[in-house]
């Protein structure tokens, strides 16, 4: 009895330490989210008194082709910001740890890691502006380079053609994003017992086999974290679109976060913008729960 109560007290002892975080969460995320959800049931120009319209904004959203198109674009953005960088980051981390580090030393591996991480340090807006110059139809470096190597016929208005605009934006996203998974995976690989690789090598495993049977299973928790983090970032992708295309050409690169911004600040239709933001937030929360569950199940099985 005494033991139980003291254990209970012991268990509750950490609660005061959660208060600052809870207060911050309530003030910065909880209350604004509830306010945003409340606004989504109104028609409001951002000033004056909001008019209650119930579920009208959501009904309109359900039939809004541009909104659904923006979500479809977001699926490709997830490929560009989460899936491809994770895959490339995995391969690069393995190459840097398993090959470069072992054959050329940790300094060479660190230098290469820093180079690949560099785009992460640049503000996205700056990176976006630089890429919009590189991809410019007239005198942009990409088209000039294609011309210089005899492939001038491929020169293109990369961001102006609906067939290539989203792919071009995705290319920029991959370039910006790779550094993040790389550093996480490399640090994950630090804790992998080198004897595993040695044993595999003695058994005659090729690099590809070591990558598949040692690297990936060993850093599965990191892969989950990276995928979760980058997928949420992809759903929130805004500055890339704002700087590079502003949703164009003709809505071809529109994503929900930008679409929401347009309704907030361009159309002064704050109620509708809030509805988009609410749907997006709920999507992010749902996705996070799914990821965490999958991760929990995965780790549970391992134990």
């Amino acid at each position: 009895m005494t033991t139980g109560s003291s254990t209970g007290r012991h268990r509750l002892a950490y609660l005061p330490y959660l208060i600052p975080g809870l207060l911050l969460f309530t003030g910065v995320i909880g209350v604004p989210f509830l306010m945003n959800t409340g606004t989504s049931f109104t028609e409001w120009a951002g000033v004056g008194t909001p008019t209650w319209v119930g579920l009208d904004n959501y009904r309109e959203l359900a039939t809004d082709g541009e909104f659904w198109a923006s979500f479809r674009h977001n699926a490709l953005v997830i490929v560009g910001m989460a899936i491809l960088p994770t895959m490339i980051g995995l391969v690069l981390a393995s190459v840097l740890t398993d090959l470069i580090d072992r054959h050329f030393g940790p300094r060479a591996a660190s230098a290469l890691r820093a180079c690949i991480y560099l785009p992460q340090v640049l503000p996205i807006v700056i990176a976006g502006i630089v890429w919009s110059w590189l991809l410019a139809p007239e005198n942009g470096a990409v088209n000039v380079l294609l011309g210089a190597i005899g492939l001038g016929s491929l020169a293109h208005d990369w961001l102006g053609d609906p067939a290539t605009a989203l792919w071009s934006v995705m290319g920029v996203m991959v370039w910006i994003q790779i550094g993040f998974p790389l550093v996480i995976f490399m640090s994950g690989l630090q804790r992998v017992d080198p004897s595993l690789y040695e044993a595999a090598e003695i058994d005659g495993a090729s690099w590809a086999q070591r990558f598949w049977y040692v690297t990936i299973p060993q850093i599965r928790p990191e892969i989950f974290v990276v995928l979760l983090w980058t997928t949420i970032a992809a759903l929130k992708a805004f500055p890339h679109i704002f700087v590079l295309t502003r949703g164009g050409p003709g809505g071809a690169t529109n994503v929900p976060s930008y679409y929401s911004y347009v309704h907030f600040f361009e159309k002064t239709d704050v109620g509708y913008g809030s509805a988009i933001a609410t749907v997006l937030t709920l999507t992010v929360i749902a996705l996070t729960i799914v990821f965490l569950r999958l991760q929990g199940r995965e780790l549970g099985e391992e134990r």
Partner: protein
């Protein structure tokens, strides 16, 4: 996550930011006894307006001993996006440059956030200085629609579009300045025949839509403009003027008058390309005038759109006095100074379009031509405003639809997209 909560969160953060500004403003102000006039605007210091208003500040301080002007330079978008919150807070400046039009000044006037200055306008005679077509953007009705009966702002400059041309390229290719639309088309053909794209364009921003609107204006009249801009009648995007405009613009892209590769080009880049001598012509506003004069390395001049009886243009953005201004009388004094002939002449000679200048005092030849061109349109009610004004968010829709037009979508589908946004933005 924080970003995604967006909306209300952003508004809340901005509101909190404005409260901080309030605190700063109070401590800066010391006592609110009219010791400081807080002015916000977004004109570049080297522009005609920037030069003239700096002079006005000096004049104001000289004529109001003990009062200091605290000028804060903002960005156009910064004021466009945050004005409702700023004006609705205690941190509102005393006088602020604000965007004209139904979705901006009109919206705030309807919400009661701007001071109605009609008595002051009459008392100081500002209504006598401004031509009726310039006044339209300063006056709003109870629904916030421009051209109403109550003054909520005062423009001290104006703007309109004209064709900037590279005289050196015209001379080199033996091309004459066109005076009719047919001659204009022949000039365009002549450049295309030489492998030169004749018109600079930026499809990712305002330029493409302004070509389309000008083409529509070539087939339109004043009631058509009023119906479109001021809802005095029904606007039908399948009418002959809009159909001609969209079809002709698409045709111009096909013929190479406008580069298809300019879909993703921004206005700034198009202007820079013109100033670097890449394109012989650029159809754009007098806001480029000062920069072209400073940066173009070739001989250049301007002409109005050949054959146009109406063109894009209006009174400039407005001086408004927020309801929360603590020094309204000082604000009116300052506006009054910016309308004085001396300041207006400085504005004109620095490449702006003054609204109350002494035209004989504008001595720079190209500036004089610019002002004379404007006066001609203003006096014949030929200022047709801008295509994105009638509906909130219409600007983005115009960008999107003209990009589609350049990428080969049919004029009918593009016009139908515009109709949808226009109709949904009509005042309820």
């Amino acid at each position: 996550m924080i970003k995604r909560v967006t909306g209300a969160a952003l508004l809340a953060v901005l509101a909190a930011g404005s409260q901080t500004l309030v605190a700063c403003g109070r401590s800066d102000n010391g006592e609110p006894g009219g010791k400081e006039l807080r002015v916000w605007h977004y004109e570049a210091p080297e522009s005609g307006m920037g030069v003239a208003w700096n002079e006005a500040i000096k004049e104001f301080e000289a004529t109001h001993p003990g009062v200091k002007v605290k000028l804060e330079l903002k960005g156009f978008e910064q004021i466009q996006k945050t004005a409702p919150m700023i004006v609705n807070s205690n941190s509102a400046p005393d006088v602020m440059e604000y965007n004209k039009g139904n979705a901006t000044a009109g919206l705030l006037s309807k919400q009661g956030l701007l001071e109605e200055i009609t008595p002051e306008v009459k008392k100081r005679g500002w209504d006598k200085l401004l031509s009726p077509s310039v006044q339209v953007v300063a006056k709003y009705d109870d629904k916030g629609i421009m051209g109403g009966d109550k003054w909520y702002g005062v423009p001290t400059y104006a703007e309109y579009l004209q064709v900037y041309y590279n005289k050196d390229l015209f001379k080199k290719h033996d091309v004459q300045v066109p005076t009719t639309f047919d001659e204009f088309t022949k000039v365009l053909d002549a450049f295309v025949a030489k492998g030169i794209t004749p018109l600079a364009n930026g499809g990712a921003e305002y330029m493409a839509q302004q070509y389309v609107y000008q083409l529509a204006l070539d087939k339109a009249d004043e009631p058509w403009v009023n119906a479109f801009q001021r809802y005095t009648g029904k606007t039908d995007f399948t009418d002959p003027a809009w159909t001609y405009a969209a079809t002709t613009f698409a045709d111009w892209v096909t013929k190479g008058y406008i580069a298809k590769s300019s879909v993703s080009t921004k206005g700034e880049d198009a202007g820079v390309a013109f100033m670097s001598g890449k394109f012989p012509m650029m159809f754009s506003g007098n806001w480029w005038f000062g920069r072209v004069a400073k940066e173009a390395k070739f001989d250049w001049d301007t002409f109005v759109w050949p054959g146009a009886k109406m063109t894009l243009g209006s009174g400039g953005n407005l001086w408004v006095v927020p309801k929360g201004s603590k020094n309204k009388q000082l604000a009116y004094d300052f506006i009054d100074i910016t309308l004085q002939k001396k300041i207006q002449n400085i504005l004109g000679n620095a490449g702006g379009v003054p609204v109350a200048a002494d035209s004989s005092a504008i001595t720079e030849p190209r500036a004089k031509k610019l002002v004379d061109g404007f006066n001609t349109f203003a006096q014949s009610n030929g200022l047709a405003y801008y295509p994105d004004w009638p509906a909130p968010g219409f600007y983005d829709q115009w960008v999107s639809q003209t990009q589609k037009l350049m990428n080969g979508d049919s004029p009918q589908s593009v016009l139908s997209g515009l109709q949808k946004t226009y109709d949904s933005g009509l005042p309820k």
